[in-house]
C-alpha cells in the first residue's frame, strides 16, 4: 500500500522541534491567496475539522488533512512535506522560526495509483 503523503528529513526535524514546544500537532493543507497552497501546522485540535475535510494519512504521527473539494483536484498526486527557510505568513506554528513547511507534489505512478492508502474522515 502506498502512502499519499510523506515527509523529508528537514520536515521531520522541524515537526519534532515543534512537538517539543507545542505537544501533539496536526496539518491542514491550505488553498487560495498569498500563503495558500502551503500546509499549515497547528496544535492538535486547534483547527476545527469538519465533514468537508479528508485525512490523507499521517506524517511523523500528525494527521494531514485537506478540504474535500481541494482534494478532488489533488488526488492523483503524491505529496511530500518539506521544510525550507523563509518568512511565511499565516498562523502555522513554524512561522516564528524563519522556517516554512512546503508541499512538493508529484504524480502517482500507475502502480502506486492501484494501491493507495485509505482516506479517513471526521466521524460523527
Amino acid at each position: 500500500m502506498h502512502k499519499r503523503v510523506s515527509l523529508t528529513p528537514a520536515a521531520f526535524d522541524l515537526i519534532e522541534e515543534l512537538k517539543a514546544i507545542h505537544g501533539e500537532l496536526m496539518f491542514h493543507q491550505s488553498g487560495g491567496c498569498c500563503d495558500g497552497s502551503q500546509p499549515m501546522c497547528f496544535e492538535k485540535g486547534d483547527f476545527k475539522l469538519g465533514q468537508s475535510d479528508v485525512c490523507l494519512g499521517e506524517i511523523d504521527g500528525c494527521e494531514f488533512w485537506m478540504s474535500k473539494d481541494q482534494f478532488e483536484y489533488w488526488k492523483h498526486t503524491h505529496l511530500t512535506i518539506d521544510a525550507v527557510n523563509g518568512r511565511g505568513a499565516s498562523f502555522s506554528l513554524e512561522i516564528p522560526y524563519g522556517k516554512r513547511f512546503m508541499t512538493v507534489s508529484r504524480l502517482f505512478t500507475e502502480e502506486e495509483a492501484q494501491d493507495l492508502s485509505p482516506l479517513s474522515f471526521v466521524v460523527d
Binding site: 491542514h28 493543507q29 491550505s30 488553498g31 487560495g32 491567496c33 498569498c34 500563503d35 495558500g36 497552497s37 502551503q38 499549515m40 497547528f42 486547534d46 483547527f47 476545527k48 478540504s67 473539494d69 481541494q70 483536484y73 489533488w74 498526486t77 525550507v84 527557510n85 523563509g86 518568512r87 511565511g88 505568513a89 499565516s90 498562523f91 502555522s92 506554528l93 512561522i95 516564528p96 524563519g98 516554512r100 512546503m102 508541499t103 512538493v104 507534489s105 508529484r106 504524480l107
Partner: protein, 529 residues
Amino acid sequence: MCYHEIDFKTTFGKIKLDKIMSAIAETEVSNLAKRPQFKEKYGNFIGGKFVEPASGQYFDNESPIDGKVFTKAARSNKEDVEKAIDAAHEAFKTWSVTSATYRSNLLNKIADRIEENLEYLATVETIDNGKAIRETRAADLPLVIDHFRYFAGVIRAEEGGISEHDENTVSIVLHEPLGVVGQIIPWNFPLLMATWKIAPAIAAGNCCVVKPAEQTPTSIMVLMELLQDIVPAGVINIVTGFGPEAGKPLAQSERISKVSFTGETTTGRLIMQYASENLLPVTMELGGKSPNIFFSSVADADDDFFDKAVEGAVMFALNQGEVCTCPSRILVQEDIYDTFMERVVARTKAIKTGHPLDGTVMMGAQASNDQYEKIQSYLKIGKEEGAEVLTGGASNNLGGDLENGYYIQPTIFKGNNKMRIFQEEIFGPVTCVTTFKTVEEAIEIANDTMYGLGAGVWTRDAHELYQVPRAIKAGRVWVNNYHAYPAHAPFGGYKKSGFGRENHKMMLDHYRQTKNMLVSYSKQKLGFF
C-alpha cells in the same frame, strides 16, 4: 513611452500620468531609485507612538530584491495586541462621535501627505515587497491616495434613512461604528491592502488594530511615521509579528467587534472559528484562480483592441503574479488560438525583468524565499502533468547584487483545466492556457474551480459582453479590461474566495451597525393590556 502611457491609463484608471512620466524619465537618467535610510528597527505603532514590543525582541526583514536584511520589525505577542486594543478603545470614545466632516477632512489630509511622499513610499514598498517600482509608483501608491479620498468623499454625501410607516409612526435608520476592528493584511500589496481595510473602517468611525504580514512589516510603519502628526492617537494601531504569536490573539480577542482578513483558505477558516467563539462578524478575501476568456471576435481585426486584449492576457505578470485575481487561466477560443497566443507569448517574452528599483523594469522579485520555492515546485508539477511550456518555466537568475533575490521567469503553460496548475493559486508569474470551442464550454471551464474572485471576458460581441459575465460565478468580472481596481467598484469573492466586499461605499456598512429608532407619535395605548 506612448505604450507606457496607454498601459497605465487603461489598467489603473485614475492615475497622475504626469507624475509617472516624470518619474520614468528621471529613472532613465539615474536608473535606480535612491534607497532611503531605514531605522535600524521599528517598534509597534500603538496609541500614536512607536513603542517597544513587550518581548523586547525584533525579527529581521529581508528585502526580496537581494535577500539582505534592511531593518527589523517588532516581534509582538498577546501583550502588545492587548495594549493596541486598549489604545483603540480609548480613542474610540472620541473618534466614534466625531463629525463626518472632521473624519473626511482627516482622510484627505492623510491622502495629501501620502501624495507628497509618493516617491519615498513607492521606494520603501518596493524594497519591502520586491515588486517593481514602476508599479508602486503607478498603481499601489496612487490607488492608496485615491482610496482615502474616495472614502473622505462618500461619508460627506451619504445619508441614513427615514420612513413614515403611518401617520404616527416613523422609522429612523442611522449608522453607528462597530467599535475596535481587527484587520489582518496580506503581503502582496502591503500599503494598498492595508488602505482597503483602514480607510473605510476609520471613515465609518471605527478604530483599528492592524497586523501586517510577516514578509512586509515595514512599509506601513514608514507610512505611520509620516501620518503620526495627523491621525489622532489610537485610531490606527499597528502590531507586527508572527501569525501564531500576534495574529492569533488579535483574531481571538473578545474585545474587538470585527475581523477582516485577506489570505488563504485554512487560515480563513481558523479565523472564522475564533470569531465564532465571540459571535463576531468577519470579512474574508481568500484568493482565486481567475479565468481570462478571449472569444473569437477579439481577433477580428489587428487593431488597438486586439493589442489591448493581448496586454490583458499578459496581466498575469502584474505584481509578479502575486495578486488574488491574477488571471492565471487563459481560455482562448480554438479558432484564434495561434494568432492570439503568438502575440501573447511575444509580449510576455518582452517583459523586462531586473532590479525592482529600476524604473524601466516591468517585473520584480517574489516576496519571500518560501514563495519562490513554492512557485518552482509548481513549475515542476506542471511539466510532470504534461503541460507544455510556451515561455519561461524556470527561476530567473539575474546575477550580481541580485544573485540572492527571488526571481522567476514569466511563464505560460499550455494544458487542460484538470491539471493542478490550473486549479491552484500559484501566486507567481505563471499562467496556464487552454482552448474552448463554444460559449457554453468557456463558461463551464471558467466555473470549474473552487474559487470565484475575478474573471476577464474579452469580446466584440454585444451578447457575449453581457451574458458571459453574468454566467461566471465570480465577484468581479472585468469586461474588455483587467486588473483595474477603482475605489468606486465593489470587490470580493464567490465560492471559496470568501465573502463580504472591499472598495465601494458599501464597505462602510461592513464596518457599521444599523441603528433603527422606531418612534411613535401616537398618544393612544395599543389596548393589549
